[in-house]
């Protein structure tokens, strides 16, 4: 039964552009555009959830990896003439590498310092993006990033494929022994260690894979918009991710997907100005995080004793 539902959902997702064309032909371009964004942010949110939801590390560094990936793809394609797949692969690799290098000192910090440290790291990444003008053109942004496909439906299927890959990797990592180990580290670290699980290893694994995937999504994002600016790497992105993950259901695949659909599509459809959107998101996040039963945020708190 569940398989049937999943196949149906997947089918609808794949057929979406045609469905939209049939239902609302005049709006098709806009709606498919929103769907593309939704798919990309869903993939990004899943990569974030690996770190926050499954291994329980409150990282605020995700915008940095998103940015590294985006800039890598942008620079490689505009200046190096790299083909699409190559620069996306490069983006994933470089973002993962940066995550690994950053993770080494960061994971030596205690929980609180770790959160602050990742936030600081994200800020430093933004500073570099804004100031390393020779490479990133700073506030002038990198423009003219080539598009591998030109029609919107094609972009949608590209984004959907990426989401599908991320989804498979997410499932693979969060189930069976690997998933159990990660959850053990999240829920009761001393006990996990007594079980022979190296907490650092799994934290780094989630962090690096999550970061690498974020880089990949960043690369796609940059190619889609043809432009990438430092503003895309600010803490607003973290808030976006937190909202999607926490209000959707942290640590659960379905929750994150639902959250992504709700919190990417909805504001686009409502055509909120970015500032108002952030105000509303912030308030929502505030209210939900305060009022939620321990179950929702308890997942991140871990230490089930």
């Amino acid at each position: 039964m569940r398989v049937l539902v999943r196949v149906a959902v997947a089918g609808v997702a794949v057929a979406a552009p045609w469905i939209v064309a049939a239902i609302a032909p005049g709006q098709q371009r806009y709606i498919v555009h929103v769907l593309i964004f939704t798919a990309l942010f869903a993939a990004l949110a899943l990569s974030y959830d690996l770190i926050v939801g499954h291994v329980g590390a409150l990282s605020l560094a995700h915008p940095a990896f998103f940015g590294v990936g985006a800039y890598t793809a942008a620079i490689a394609s505009t200046r190096g003439g790299w083909p699409f797949l190559a620069d996306v692969a490069g983006a994933v690799a470089l973002a993962g590498l940066v995550a690994a290098l950053a993770g080494i000192p960061l994971f030596r910090l205690t929980e609180h310092a770790f959160a602050v440290g990742t936030l600081g790291f994200a800020l430093v990444a933004w500073i570099v993006a804004t100031n390393w003008v020779d490479v990133t053109r700073g506030p002038l942004c990198i423009t003219g990033i080539p598009k591998p496909v030109t029609t919107l439906p094609a972009w949608y299927w590209l984004a959907l494929t990426a989401l599908g890959l991320v989804l498979l990797l997410y499932r693979g990592m969060t189930t069976f022994r690997l998933g159990r180990a990660m959850h053990a580290v999240r829920d009761n670290e001393p006990l996990a260690a007594a079980a022979g699980i190296d907490p650092l290893r799994y934290r780094m694994l989630a962090f690096v894979v999550g970061g690498a995937l974020a880089g990949g999504v960043g690369a796609l994002y940059a190619h889609y918009l043809s432009v990438f600016c430092p503003e895309e790497m600010t803490v607003a992105l973290t808030v976006n991710m937190l909202v999607i993950v926490f209000l959707g259901g942290v640590g659960t695949l379905r929750g994150v997907l639902v959250g992504a659909v709700l919190f990417t599509a909805l504001p686009e459809i409502l055509r909120l100005a970015p500032t108002w959107r952030l105000v509303i998101y912030g308030l929502l996040l505030l209210v939900i995080v305060i009022r939620s039963p321990e179950g929702l945020s308890g997942l991140v708190r871990g230490r089930a004793r």
Binding site: A113, V116, G120, I127, V239, T275, I290, S297
Partner: protein, 290 residues
Amino acid sequence: MLADVLEQLVHGLTLGSMYAMVAAGLALMLGVARLINFAHGEFFMLGAYAFWYGYRELGLPYPLAGVLAVALMVVWGVVYQRTVIRAILPRSWHVQLIATLATSIVLTNLAIIVFGTQPKEVPTALSSTILDVGGFRLVWQRLLVLAGALAIFWGLHRFVSRTRAGRAMRAMSQNREACAVVGVDVQHVAMITFALSAALAAAAATLVSPLFNIFPDMGTGLTLKAFAAVVTGGFGYVNGAIAASFLIGITEALAGSYLSYAYKDAFAFIIMIGVLLWRPQGLFGRRLGI
């Protein structure tokens, strides 16, 4: 050459004073109420706008505008404490972090909506007057900042060590459960601590605003640097936070001037990571067991 270095040193002390006042408030909240407040920088930002409003729009004299800013921030601090903080105080620090981060975003964007993104300037008499001693140039306002900071820290020290409220705060920072048992009104002390840290940030804003521009985003970076200072100094230790703040301020000024101006904001975190890798408990923190 020497004049340059001295100027940068003074600049560093100014920055350090600003960071220290903000970080002290943050450390207080952490030490006394175990609260992580990511919206702390917004006390500074809103305080700066309040000061601007009083000084520029209402035409109040400098000290009065400062008092207005501090008073408004204390009021806001109490409101914030009674609404958001009270709800998140008993919760895990993850909840606190996310809730206060959300608050910060809301406040920043509301400020953009209300005040616009154009930076505001509040030049005062002292910020426009320069003392020139044989090539060494000093803006008077900077001396005011330093003097003001020292006066405030002295006042803070007296408050914490002499008054009943201060004693309660110190007791709470050491053993919260015992305090509740002995009859200390934990919420009340938390509120006072909160008002105090809001006042500190507003005072800093009043002293420093004439030197820098005021813009809605200024709180975010400040919060982070304040946290960097708090973490570097040893979580919850006010003196540690103050010392670390001056370290950060001076490094920023000197390194920003002689190494790289564009990346000056990164130094705070480089220092933090460096110190923590060497001493995970921070400069003055104590290493505990399991």
